[in-house]
């Protein structure tokens, strides 16, 4: 019996598709051969997982469909609910005076406690930094507007799917590998859109919440493999004060936006050595955008900004991309992808306008959907 026949027999045995005679025969073989017994157990486990998977997938689809139908029918009004923020403002104006007095007393205690908090729980930072992915409603609205303007262009977002988040991304390998932030990919699938507004289907190959990096692969027949990357991916760390710039899609009209700044610290939020602190005006939607220096080198990936300090943003260091590729190579599932990072120096122009012109075709707007 070859492998395929054996697989078939095991599956038919487990799904109850065997005749009584065949079944007794198979059970005898199973008893006599521990390897086959092991394979049956393993396959039973696999089929059980597959069953759960299939049920969950099908139900999730129904679940979302019903919700969207009811939503479209106007069953609920998203805005109707009392907003917490307006209540807070009301409270604030009402008790302003009292708070001011209390604040001066409380200030000292608060400073002390927050210092203690930082000391003991350096990872609690939810309120102080902001991810730069775009808010959902904004994209949805924009999608509608675009729908009116460009009726003839069909979107590649599957029917019944809803856009849930968005950000920026860029090619690291011309075979179609695009890097973005893991927090940009809140949905199940994604498409990428280039600076000309062309959409491409993409699959999520890898996503790691710890490093906040994710890898997409463009899988679309419309995608034409680009020429060699016009930038190098820098492995060494960059110098303080270095001039940097970024290109991303923070706006909803899909226009690429240029931003300029400098590297302000070797470490990121709370001394995080995986990121740089940079001085740049960062808007939501810049998440996943590349950060370049003057020498046509990619030095980082935009990821978050500090909530209270204007212009302070954090970029994941580019050497983390080398770690990512190493992880891919070590993993059974992804080792065949053969992602290559460009380490060759690119001589190109150092004129900023020429650089932007060269780079912009390698930068994408990323949209995740459910």
């Amino acid at each position: 019996m070859d492998d395929i026949q054996l697989q078939e027999a095991i599956e038919r045995y487990l799904t109850g598709d065997m005749s009584v005679e065949e079944r007794t025969q198979f059970e005898a073989i199973r008893k006599a051969t521990p390897e086959i017994d092991q394979m049956v157990i393993e396959h039973a486990m696999f089929l059980r997982e597959m069953d759960i998977y299939v049920n969950r997938k099908n139900f999730s689809k129904l679940n979302k469909q019903v919700f969207n139908q009811l939503l479209d029918a106007g069953t609920w009004a998203p805005e109707a609910a009392e907003s917490t923020s307006s209540r807070v403002i009301q409270l604030w104006t009402k008790y302003k005076k009292v708070t001011a007095i209390a604040a001066s007393v409380g200030g000292f205690i608060a400073l002390f406690t927050s210092a203690m908090m930082l000391f003991f729980f350096p990872s609690i930072n939810g309120n102080q930094i902001l991810e730069l992915s775009k808010a959902v409603e904004k994209i949805e609205r924009n999608q509608k507007v675009q729908g009116h303007l460009l009726n003839e262009v069909k979107t590649k977002v599957p029917e019944n799917a809803k856009l849930v988040s968005g950000g920026s991304g860029f090619l690291i390998d011309t075979k179609g590998f695009v890097i973005t932030n893991a927090h940009v990919l809140k949905g199940e699938g994604a498409i990428v859109v280039n600076s000309l507004g062309q959409e491409f289907k993409a699959t999520i190959v890898y996503s790691d919440k710890n490093s906040d990096l994710a890898l997409l692969k463009i899988e679309d027949e419309d995608y034409k493999q680009a020429k060699a990357l016009p930038f190098t991916i820098r492995k060494k760390s960059s110098d303080l004060g270095e001039d940097i710039f970024t290109l991303g899609f923070p706006r909803n009209d899909n226009d690429i936006v240029y931003g300029k700044g400098y590297l302000s610290a070797q470490t990121g939020f709370n001394g995080d050595s995986n990121t740089y602190q940079i001085q740049i005006s960062a808007n939501p939607g810049y998440s996943g955008a590349p950060v370049f220096n003057e020498k046509n080198e990619l030095i980082g990936i935009m990821s978050s900004r500090q909530k209270l300090a204007e212009g302070v943003a954090f970029a994941i260091k580019s050497d983390k991309l080398f770690d990512l590729v190493e992880t891919l190579e070590e993993n059974e599932l992804t080792k065949d992808l053969n992602v290559k990072l460009n380490k060759q120096k690119v001589k190109g122009s150092k004129n900023r306008k020429a650089q932007i012109n060269n780079f912009k075709n390698y930068i994408y707007s990323v949209r995740a959907f459910n």
Binding site: E49, N58, L62, A81, E82, G126, N127, V164
Partner: protein, 188 residues
Amino acid sequence: MKAELNEQALLKGLAQNDSKAVETLYKSHFSMIQHFVTNNNGSFDDARDIFQEAMITLYEKVQLEHFTLSCQIKTYLFSICKNLWLKRLQQMGKYSAPLSSQEETISVEEDLDQFEKKDAALAIMDRALNSLGEPCKSLLEGYYLNKKGMQELASQFGYTNADNAKNQKYKCLMRLKKLFFAQYNIGE
């Protein structure tokens, strides 16, 4: 008594993927969750996300052979949502005071643990399927997900007959299993 019968019928419908049952559950209970989430630092979309997750938890619970629900559907869904929302607020570092609500709740930690465990296995399956490539991915999805017959799949994928398609399916299946078990810990 009548209300109880209705709830049983509803759960039965849910177990059978009946869209009417799903619709009824949304119509009767989503507003409550929307109200709860939006009054506790969340948006409409947050409410949608956690309610959909709660629906899946309930769905997977009613799939179980010896399934019992020891409370009203409303209480169950609310308890799940409250738990999920609390967790999400903590993840965002927003949580401070106890959440405001007057609804009664029951303990649902066990169900949520189950859900999370399943979630992990499902993510592995998803990644394995997605890294298979074509035609394997669509062939296996056609067979297992969309329950198509071998004859239909053969003509869809251009195989000369059902036997060829079957051979291809088993080849793909063996690759999928290899990928799946490379990450799935047996007897975790």
